[in-house]
């Protein structure tokens, strides 16, 4: 015990070494596992797979759908974060809880819930179907589940960013004659610009990589509802590993880049505070 105390608790150098060692080992193994797929194929097969039009269709579909999701996120996320941050009251807790719930819920459950609710047996689903809007086995359905899954990311990041704005400053601008809308677009949004970009990047990457919930409502219709992550699963189940590897590699590069954008703005937001 004495030796342990001497070596670990009271020695900064050894403490540093141990901390660095653990993080380094973890980092190396993570990198190896993720990049493992690149070593399973040859460059020639990889390139020939990339020239497959089917692959690009699924990638573009994912792109299109998640960009749409981000757009809807902006429209509903800004008012929601505004309410959560600036109109705090007794029920904010409940609202915050509900809007964060999809973060911790299993995506599969969310997908299943949408599948059931929007199905023809449910009154809500019946209503939409009778008006010609189908959410099951259609791109709209994918947008809906991806929205449910990605908006907590957007709202939480934006809310945190709104929370860091000085309330006294907001009050003061009211006395200068600014209405709530003017305050929102002249002060609040410019000041939380970094948070906004980070939120967009985060929700976009989340929805482009989303598989489980999407799978539940997609119905895997090629070129219509078959997004890139689903394509990976389909190709793997057929045993077509080279194709799966090619899409996975592309997805990995995409999420690496979009997460890089997120981290960049996130750290800039923290620095400018």
């Amino acid at each position: 015990m004495q030796i342990f105390k001497k070596l670990f608790i009271r020695n900064n150098k050894i403490f540093d070494i141990i901390v660095f060692f653990i993080s380094f080992v973890f980092f190396i193994s993570l990198a190896l596992i993720l990049s493992g797929i690149f070593f399973q194929t040859s460059l020639k097969i990889f390139i020939s797979e990339l020239s497959n039009i089917h692959l690009w269709n699924s990638i573009f579909l994912s792109f299109k759908l998640s960009s749409l999701v981000v757009l809807i996120n902006l429209i509903i996320g800004i008012p929601l974060s505004y309410i959560l941050s600036f109109k705090k009251n007794k029920f904010s807790f409940l609202l915050d809880l509900i809007s964060t719930l999809p973060l911790t819920m299993s995506p599969l459950v969310i997908g299943f819930a949408v599948l059931i609710t929007m199905g023809p047996l449910n009154p809500i689903g019946k209503f939409f179907i009778s008006h010609g809007i189908k959410f099951v086995f259609t791109p709209q359905g994918i947008v809906l589940v991806q929205l449910i899954i990605s908006f907590p990311f957007f709202v939480n990041i934006l809310k945190e960013s709104f929370d860091s704005i000085n309330r006294k400053m907001i009050n003061l601008s009211k006395t200068l004659g600014a209405s709530s809308f003017e305050i929102l677009y002249k002060i609040i949004l410019p000041l939380s610009f970094n948070g906004l970009l980070a939120g967009i990047a985060m929700s976009w990457s989340r929805s482009i990589g989303e598989y489980a919930a999407t799978q539940m409502v997609s119905g895997v219709i090629p070129n219509l509802t078959e997004t890139a992550p689903i394509e990976v699963f389909v190709k793997t189940s057929y045993g077509n590993y080279p194709a799966a590897i090619a899409i996975s590699a592309l997805l990995m590069i995409i999420s690496f880049m979009s997460l890089g954008v997120f981290k960049f703005f996130y750290y800039r937001a923290k620095l400018t505070k």
Binding site: K168, M169, L172, S173, K174, T175, L176, G177
Partner: protein, 392 residues
């Protein structure tokens, strides 16, 4: 009807009543101030006037119009707070012009077609008046606190509000910027004829700036009037304490002589009677044998020179005492004089005098001196106070 009228404002926070029937009114073109201890609801009054807080009951009238239920941006009232609170995403120019570019003020400016000046001209003009020209393209994090506070002031003035509220605008400034900003406010107030309501806990701000003061204590307006009158003749013990009157004594009136313009009061020190007494000029509404307080400002106590015969003017209310301490504060010597070593019979006087006088008279701690309390400077306060017309 007065320019701004606040009528019977009540406000409670979590069942604690902060403001009880606060009513006051201020005149156009004057600097008025609200004075009181910290946490007595001074800032709450300002927040209610500019609409950031809703009152529980009561009304606010501006120019005869009831604005008590309007949104903050609909009232033409600007607020300057203790922090400059500049918008960090805009440069100084944009900061000051912020108010001008808002829809509400755009409409207001276009009504007065005679000043067709552009927004930029208006801003440059106000920056010139406040002595901050040349900072247009800087950002708020690059300039000093004193400058920031002046910019905050410019931002409030530039929208041409009916009244500017200031919530302890000097409390975060160092002593040099404080004096500068203070004199600046006085100057521009005269030039532009703005109405200002100032909230402060620093008596110096009030003596320097305001025409009228309101004392807010325990949730109601305890006293109001000209600051000089109040500081010399406080009407209650609370006010006297608040205004920094250090010589407050308990006494019992021995005799009231209206004919000879004289009231004699015994000191009732530490509850026990003794033979010390003072004389002062006749003040109405006092009776013999009445328990009272009486106050004298430390500046009005004169230390007599030993080498000279006292002149007529100081031939009144003589006491002998020993200097127990002499401290040099920022402006004056602060001297404590005790009449007796004995705790029970001791009366302590606080005297303020200029340093040069202190030096010429060769005073020092431990020396015995004679002091004189000017008759005219002694002010008697009733023990039972009438507050808001009710007997407390």
């Amino acid at each position: 009807m007065d320019f701004l009228e606040v009528k019977n404002i009540n406000k409670s926070f979590k069942n604690k009543k902060i403001l009880k029937d606060v009513s006051f009114s201020i005149k156009k073109g004057e600097i008025s101030s609200i004075f009181g201890y910290s946490g007595e609801g001074k800032s709450t009054v300002l927040s209610i006037i500019c609409g950031l807080l809703k009152q529980d009951s009561g009304d606010v009238f501006l120019n005869g119009k009831n604005i008590g239920k309007m949104e903050p941006y609909e009232r033409s009232i600007s607020l300057v707070m203790d922090e400059p609170l500049l918008f960090p995403n805009m440069n100084i120019m944009e900061n000051i012009a912020f108010g001008l570019k808002l829809n509400k003020n755009k409409a207001k400016l276009s009504l007065h077609k005679q000043n067709k000046k552009s927004v930029k001209d208006i801003v440059l003009n106000i920056m010139d008046i406040l002595g901050i020209s040349g900072l247009e393209n800087r950002f708020p994090n690059e300039i000093s606190m004193g400058q920031s506070q002046r910019i905050s002031l410019a931002r409030a003035i530039v929208t041409n509000p009916d009244i500017i509220l200031m919530d302890e605008p000097f409390s975060n400034l160092d002593i040099i910027s404080k004096t500068k900003v203070r004199s600046l406010i006085k100057k521009i107030q005269k030039e532009l004829k703005i109405t200002i309501l100032l909230v402060t806990h620093d008596i110096e701000d009030i003596m320097n700036l305001s025409d009228t003061m309101f004392i807010l204590n325990k949730g109601y307006i305890q006293e109001f009037g000209n600051p000089e009158d109040i500081i010399k003749k406080p009407s209650s013990w609370d006010t006297a304490c608040l205004m920094g009157t250090d010589n407050i004594f308990e006494g019992k009136i021995m005799s009231v002589d209206k004919k000879n313009n004289k009231i004699t009061i015994y000191f009732k020190n530490n509850g026990s009677d003794n033979d010390w007494y003072i004389e002062c000029y006749y003040q109405p509404e006092f009776e013999e044998n009445e328990d009272v307080y009486f106050v004298i400002r430390p500046e009005d106590i004169i230390i007599l020179r030993e080498d000279r015969m006292p002149s007529n003017a100081v031939k009144e209310n003589h006491f002998k005492g020993k200097i127990t301490s002499a401290v040099f504060t920022s402006r004056m010597m602060e001297i404590l004089i005790s009449t007796s070593e004995n705790q029970l019979g001791n009366i302590q006087f606080k005297v303020l005098m200029p340093f040069h006088a202190y030096e010429i008279m060769k005073l020092s701690a431990g020396k015995t001196v004679s002091i004189s309390l000017k008759k005219s400077a002694i002010h008697i306060i009733k023990k039972k106070q009438h507050v808001n017309g009710k007997l407390q």
